[in-house]
């Protein structure tokens, strides 16, 4: 992936297997968020290929990528602050609706049915993530930890096959991180595939089935957490502090 003269990702190749939790780590600037941006269609790759579920993602519009089953959270929270928590999740569920503006306007049965169904689903997701009581609160008024979890619930609302979590633990204290790890595992057990960017090494190692390490836009490791921790190249990339909790 090149931006003008800068090569952000150089021959980064990896697979994500169904229902695994894949951790993506690397020092700052390694290209992790670029990977997310490429997958979700924010950037079009300049060379190579990218395919999901057997189909190429090249040139596919961003909202269609979501419809195909990829959804993400954001590193800096990007909730729709003036909408309630429930509405945030509901908006994500809209992407799979058959009904649209016209059927909504005339209150056609399909619209009412889907609306009811998705409202229930949205509440379900909020409960699943543990913030069900905040459903009617405005997103901008929510405490930080709740907002982070709402981001996840919202992404899940889009019924993704692949869920991309971008630094979901940022700003959490250790207790919250333990809880988050359990939540991520719970998500995987419910049938989702998770691709996770995180800086907190111990969290990543604890939760991931497999870990991919990037450094300066190149993949330098792709293995189980145990093996990656011991990989000398990885240790070098992090200047010798592989097990430091952030």
């Amino acid at each position: 992936m090149k931006f003008g003269g800068v090569t952000a990702l150089n021959d980064v190749t990896f697979d994500v297997k169904k229902q695994e939790i894949l951790g993506l780590i690397g020092p700052n600037g390694a290209g992790k968020t670029t990977v997310f941006n490429v997958i979700t269609g924010v950037y079009q790759i300049t060379s190579g290929e990218i395919s999901f579920d057997g189909n190429s993602l090249a040139g596919v519009k961003r909202y269609r990528i979501t419809q195909r089953g990829i959804a993400r959270t954001f590193q800096n929270i990007r909730l729709w602050g003036d909408m309630t928590a429930l509405e945030n999740v509901l908006t994500a569920t809209d992407t799979h609706k058959k009904s649209g503006l016209v059927s909504g306007l005339f209150g056609l049965p399909v619209s009412r049915r889907e609306e009811k169904r998705d409202k229930a689903r949205a509440q379900e997701l909020l409960d699943f993530i543990g913030i069900g009581e905040y459903a009617d609160r405005l997103a901008k008024n929510l405490p930080y930890g709740v907002q982070r979890r709402l981001e996840i619930a919202r992404a899940m609302g889009a019924e993704p096959k692949l869920l991309l979590l971008d630094e979901p633990a940022a700003g959490f204290n250790p207790a919250e991180k333990v809880e988050l790890a359990a939540t991520i595992r719970k998500i995987r057990d419910a049938g989702y595939t998770v691709l996770l960017i995180e800086h907190d090494m111990s969290l990543v190692m604890k939760v991931s089935d497999r870990v991919v390490v990037l450094d300066f836009g190149q993949k330098i490791a792709d293995d189980s957490p145990r093996n990656v921790q011991d990989d000398p190249r990885v240790i070098e990339a992090y200047l010798g502090v592989p097990e430091d909790a952030s």
Binding site: T33, F36, N37, T40, R72, R78
Partner: protein, 316 residues
């Protein structure tokens, strides 16, 4: 038709160039404010209008010219022109600064988004235009001619008129001064810093309020100069010329890439020439449409204008 055009080409071009420079100066008023505040200063068109009246006040009321006066020559002429130019610039510059303090500053402090200042700007525009309209009884005002509009020479069969020449040369000079100001002086650099990254600028200790005031002042000075040149060339004005010229100059600013000072130069010239040629071919009533269609086309093919820098949009 084409033959006719070719015959008149150079005289049309000179007319277009001087009009273009007028546009450049007004466009600078828009583009500088946009660069620093990301705001379209709608009131700039009325600042221009006030500049034209300031000019007439000097020529007609201070130096007591009338339609039948003799032309001034030599030193006296330069004195009159100089005084009118300076007066127009100062009046417009100060007015521009006042407008910012009264109508926009509070909103800027409150971080109120882009629409509130826009509506406020429109309100200011109305207040200025209406005030002048009431004072002039809704009638256009003619300027007596202080300077004989003689021809300095010929260029390919086209006469080079002195007023067009003065406009081109002076405007070029003013533009040069502005470029120097923006690149070499401390305040100029501060202005550029703020337009690139206001937060970093603030953290570096730059006084944002001061920079904003300076920007409005400089923009107003340029716009006021445009007012003087306009009266010099067209010898009349009215309370509602602000709108027409404002839109055209604004288009020029967009053409060149809004926020981009050098772009305003090319945009203004391009527009002045385009309008003059279009006027010749299509008649004056269609020139406005031509201008807008050009604007629309430019925005589709090169939304950042001919010279604009790419404005990055938020991305994940």
């Amino acid at each position: 038709m084409i033959g006719n055009f070719l015959d008149q080409f150079w005289s049309l071009t000179f007319g277009g160039l001087s009009l273009g420079f007028i546009y450049i100066l007004i466009a600078l008023g828009y583009t500088m404010v946009y660069g620093v505040l990301r705001m379209i200063n709608f009131a700039n068109s009325e600042i221009f209008m006030v500049g034209t009246f300031a000019t007439i006040i000097i020529v007609r009321d201070v130096f007591n010219f009338t339609q039948t006066s003799e032309y001034a020559t030599g030193f006296r002429l330069w004195l009159i022109l100089g005084t009118a130019l300076v007066f127009a610039m100062v009046v417009s510059g100060v007015l521009s600064m006042l407008v910012e303090i009264v109508a926009y500053r509070r909103l800027r402090r409150m971080n109120s988004g882009i629409l509130a200042p826009l509506i406020s700007a429109i309100g200011v525009s109305m207040v200025l235009a209406e005030s002048v309209r009431i004072l002039t009884d809704s009638r256009p005002v003619a300027s007596p001619r202080a300077m004989e509009k003689k021809f300095l020479g010929q260029f390919f069969d086209a006469g080079i008129r002195i007023d067009n020449t003065i406009i081109v040369i002076s405007a070029l000079f003013l533009f040069g001064v502005l470029i120097t100001f923006v690149n070499k002086t401390r305040m100029g650099k501060a202005i550029r810093a703020v337009s690139m990254n206001p937060n970093a600028a603030r953290l570096m200790g730059i006084n944002i309020d001061g920079v904003v005031s300076a920007t409005f002042l400089v923009g107003g000075l340029m716009t006021g100069a445009a007012g003087f040149f306009y009266v010099l060339k067209y010898e009349n004005t009215s309370s509602n010329i602000g709108f027409e010229l404002g839109i055209a100059a604004f288009t020029a600013a967009i053409l060149g890439g809004i926020g981009n000072i050098k772009g305003a130069f090319y945009g203004g010239l391009a527009l002045g020439l385009l309008e003059t040629y279009a006027s010749f071919f299509l008649g004056t009533q269609w020139k406005a449409v031509t201008v807008f269609i050009v604007l629309v086309l430019i925005l589709y093919t090169r939304p950042n204008g001919l010279f604009g820098e790419a404005l990055t949009q938020t991305r994940a």
